[in-house]
């Protein structure tokens, strides 16, 4: 814990785990039921904050994937595509309401399995999950008015693979629009964070969703590959690393599968000298330390105008001194655990490279728990465009600070990356915001804010950050034959 001062010690305020009932082991959710694997194995999922084993889950094998895809195909042909659109909407509204009712349970489980602070899972992740289902529930019977033709048709069966950083939120981004458009899905959650997806499977049962419309198969890379390369699916939706995204693009090339990819990022958060400094510092913190920096659109490169560099750095460091790192279930925690040992190793490696390449490393004094995977919030100054920490996605609580003189230089540096997922602009000048937004090659440009999400707003990348859009009206296009 690293409280703001010494006087006011916040006493531990842990959220109760009692609301969550974990089973010791989970099967695969296929055709509306939890079933044992036909040819797979089992593996353990742990809490990254304590390394405690939470449950045993199944690694689906090729036969399991066949079964799941077959169930989804059956459900598509026999029920889901035959239902009136309004009825599909009703199911989605029902799911959204159950998510709201079970919000606390979902939030606690998400924090347990992922390591993110309960404040974020409670106030950001789960409310957004419900909002996505509500939003796309509303679209289900209005697809003819989406500007995608008079009677757009669903694609069929969607194979969806999601990452571990926002497990349930990414599930909602995938499943809500797919179902609203009349598709059925086979979804594979990340191997380190399968539990909320499995709880979502229970919610589908609770909502009486017809069997086979949603199938959840757990597993790692091999399961994911078997799913996206399966001949029985019509659509691949993937969120994850650029490396895997490229493999998926190669393997789906030449097939009839429609593909959307939401990949990595190395976003620039650009701070001009007329910015509202105190709020900009909040935005910087929210940009890179939100969710431990495990955010594809994280503002991992801070570009500060030279004339306010010293002042901004002083404010930023002071603010980082108040960040509370520790138990994800403590309601006062700001920064939780790194999701896995593997990710921690990657963050450490790139941070060491940053030092070796000559950037100056700084972290606020903070005590990290002994067990579990932890990394202190870190700022690198004196970073140049040539440094690896300015080019590669670290996917952790590590900020690289660069400077610029003119707006043109800011644009040039911001765009000088193979990625293009998001960017942030901080200035009091409205005209400059519009000028910058026009020049920045990024799917999302935030003005005087960062890491804000809304189901009505499309999200997606340029260049190696992927293609296709999720969210909003644009998000429908990925699941319709228009």
């Amino acid at each position: 814990m690293s409280p703001a001062g010494k006087k006011f010690e916040y006493a531990p305020a842990p959220e109760s785990r009692a609301v969550v009932t974990l089973r010791s082991s989970y099967g695969l959710f296929i055709d509306g039921e939890f079933v044992d694997t036909a040819d797979g194995r089992t593996f353990k999922t742990i809490s990254p904050a304590t390394e405690e084993v939470l449950a045993e889950v199944t690694e689906a094998g090729p036969t399991d994937v066949d079964r799941a895809v077959a169930a989804a195909r059956r459900a598509y042909q026999r029920t889901w595509s035959k239902l009136p659109a309004r009825e599909r909407g009703k199911y989605l509204f029902r799911i959204a309401r159950i998510i709201q009712e079970r919000a606390r349970e979902l939030a606690v489980l998400e924090s347990l399995d992922n390591g993110k602070p309960i404040r974020e899972s409670r106030d950001v992740d789960i409310p957004l999950v419900a909002a996505h289902f509500f939003y796309y529930a509303g679209w289900a019977d209005k697809l003819s008015y989406a500007g995608l033709g008079p009677d757009p048709r669903p694609l069929g069966v969607a194979g969806q693979v999601i990452p571990w950083n926002f497990p349930l939120l990414m599930l909602s981004w995938k499943i809500a629009p797919a179902l609203a458009c009349g598709n059925t899905v086979v979804l594979k959650p990340a191997e380190t964070t399968p539990l909320t997806a499995l709880l979502f499977a229970e919610i589908c049962q609770q909502a009486d969703l017809p069997p086979g419309v949603v199938n959840i198969i757990t597993g790692a890379g091999d399961t994911g590959r078997a799913l996206v390369e399966h001949g029985g699916i019509d659509k691949v939706a993937f969120t994850g690393s650029t490396e895997v995204g490229k493999m998926i693009a190669r393997s789906t090339a030449g097939t009839a599968k429609k593909v959307t990819l939401e990949l990595g990022g190395k976003a620039a958060n650009i701070l001009f000298d007329d910015a509202p400094v105190d709020q900009a510092v909040e935005g910087i913190v929210n940009g890179i330390f939100f969710n431990q920096g495990h955010v594809c659109c994280a503002g991992s490169r801070l570009l500060v105008q030279e004339s306010v560099y010293d002042e901004v750095l002083v404010s930023l460091k002071r603010r980082l001194g108040t960040l509370r790192v520790g138990d994800p279930l403590d309601k006062n925690t700001d920064v939780g655990a790194i999701n896995s040992a593997e990710q921690l190793a990657r963050i450490r490696e790139l941070s060491e490279v940053g030092e070796a390449e000559g950037a100056e490393r700084w972290s606020p004094p903070c005590e990290l728990p002994e067990r579990g995977f932890w990394f202190a919030p870190t700022v690198f100054t004196g970073v140049t465009q040539a440094h690896r920490i300015a080019r590669e996605e670290i996917f952790g609580p590590v900020l690289s600070v660069l400077t610029f003189r003119t707006p043109a230089e800011a644009v040039e540096k911001a765009n000088n990356t193979p990625y293009g997922l998001s960017a942030g602009v901080w200035t009091d000048k409205g005209s400059r915001i519009l000028w910058m937004a026009d020049k920045l090659r990024a799917g999302v440009v935030w003005a005087n804010t960062f890491n804000r999400f809304d189901p009505t707003s499309p999200f997606g990348g340029y260049k190696e950050s992927g293609y296709g859009r999720e969210g909003g009206r644009h998000g429908l296009e990925a699941y319709l034959d228009a």
């Binding site: 703001a4 010690e9 000298d273 400094v277 105190d278 709020q279 909040e282 002083v314």
Partner: protein, 326 residues
């Protein structure tokens, strides 16, 4: 751009701020105040909303409740105030919970100037300060000599602290130097008494204005900046207090001089008070978590704090009838 010239000097540490130069003329003062970094309304409100989710329990709550009690300026500012009522309030200030002597004293009693003498007599030797509103509180609409006479009367009657109101009309019409000069004159009239400058943020309408008024009051020599008279809605709010805390923090960074902050009006529950303390803790830090540097202007808040305090020590809620009404 103005910002680039004005702001870096603030960050340059003690002595970096050319106070005489800033207040030399209307235009230099305006240039300085308008060169301060802006406040993004959405961002400031989002920040306090996040801080309001801090969960302050058990030992932290007990500590915060006692600190909040010790920061209260127990206030009565009614036309119908009587010496009897003021004496009753003074007795409560000295010993807030008759049933529990471990409850701390409040910081001060805040009354109109004509009742200062009564309060000073009732509080003599207790350590509780006497604060007097002055300068034709709450509107501030009187000629300067009248306002100064009001201040001097309060001080002569024994006030340790003077709570003045700024000329909002002059401020909103951009006559910053007039506002500054008036505060300077009041400060001189205060003598040894501490000066709290009420910005009446409910009438300033933007956070940019709150930041400028805060700096103006600080530059003029105010010992405290205070949100409100309590006679205008909205009175104190968390985002306004956040902006004011940022101002005193930045001013001390620039000059080394520390200025206090007092939200007043509308803070009625322990939960509210603790939220303010969290904002103080995570914005200005330890040095302001002290009755010398942070006050809460309130009346009904005290009983709620005492009730929560009793609940924490006994484990049971008691009724409002177990605490004194004033």
């Amino acid at each position: 751009m103005v910002t680039t010239t004005a702001v870096p000097t603030l960050a340059s540490g003690p002595g970096g701020l050319d106070l005489a130069g800033i207040t030399a003329s209307e235009s230099s003062l305006r240039r300085f105040l308008h060169g301060l970094p802006g406040v993004d309304q959405v961002g400031a409100e989002a920040r306090v909303a996040t801080l309001s989710t801090r969960s302050i329990k058990t030992t932290a709550k007990a500590w915060a409740i006692d600190l909040a009690i010790s920061m209260i300026d127990l206030t009565t500012l009614e036309g119908q105030d009587t010496p009897g009522k003021v004496r009753a309030l003074c007795a409560k200030a000295r010993r807030p919970d008759p049933a529990d002597p471990t409850a701390p004293q409040v910081a001060a009693i805040c009354v109109y100037p004509d009742l200062v003498e009564v309060a000073a007599a009732a509080l003599a030797g207790s350590g509780v300060k006497v604060a007097s509103v002055a300068t034709s509180f709450p509107s501030g609409r009187a000629a300067l000599p009248v306002k100064l006479a009001d201040v001097r009367a309060g001080v002569a009657a024994g006030a340790d602290e003077i709570d003045m109101v700024i000329d909002r009309g002059a401020f909103l019409s951009g006559h910053y130097l007039a506002v500054l000069d008036e505060i300077v004159a009041v400060k001189a009239a205060c003598g040894d008494a501490h000066l709290k400058v009420i910005l009446e943020t409910g009438e300033l309408s933007t956070y940019d204005n709150v930041r400028r008024a805060s700096w103006l009051a600080i530059l003029a020599g105010g010992d405290f900046i205070k949100t409100s008279t309590g006679k205008v809605a909205p009175a104190a709010t968390l985002p306004v207090t956040l902006v004011m805390l940022e101002a005193v923090r930045d001013f001390r960074d620039a000059t080394g001089r520390q200025v206090g902050v007092k939200p007043a009006g509308g803070i009625r529950t322990s939960k509210d008070a603790i939220r303010y303390l969290v904002v103080v803790n995570e914005t200005a830090g330890d040095d302001w978590l002290d009755p010398d540097w942070f006050r809460i202007g309130a009346s009904s808040l005290l009983n709620d704090l005492l009730m929560q305090r009793t609940k924490l020590t006994t484990g049971r809620y008691s009724g409002p009838d177990y605490f004194t009404l004033d």
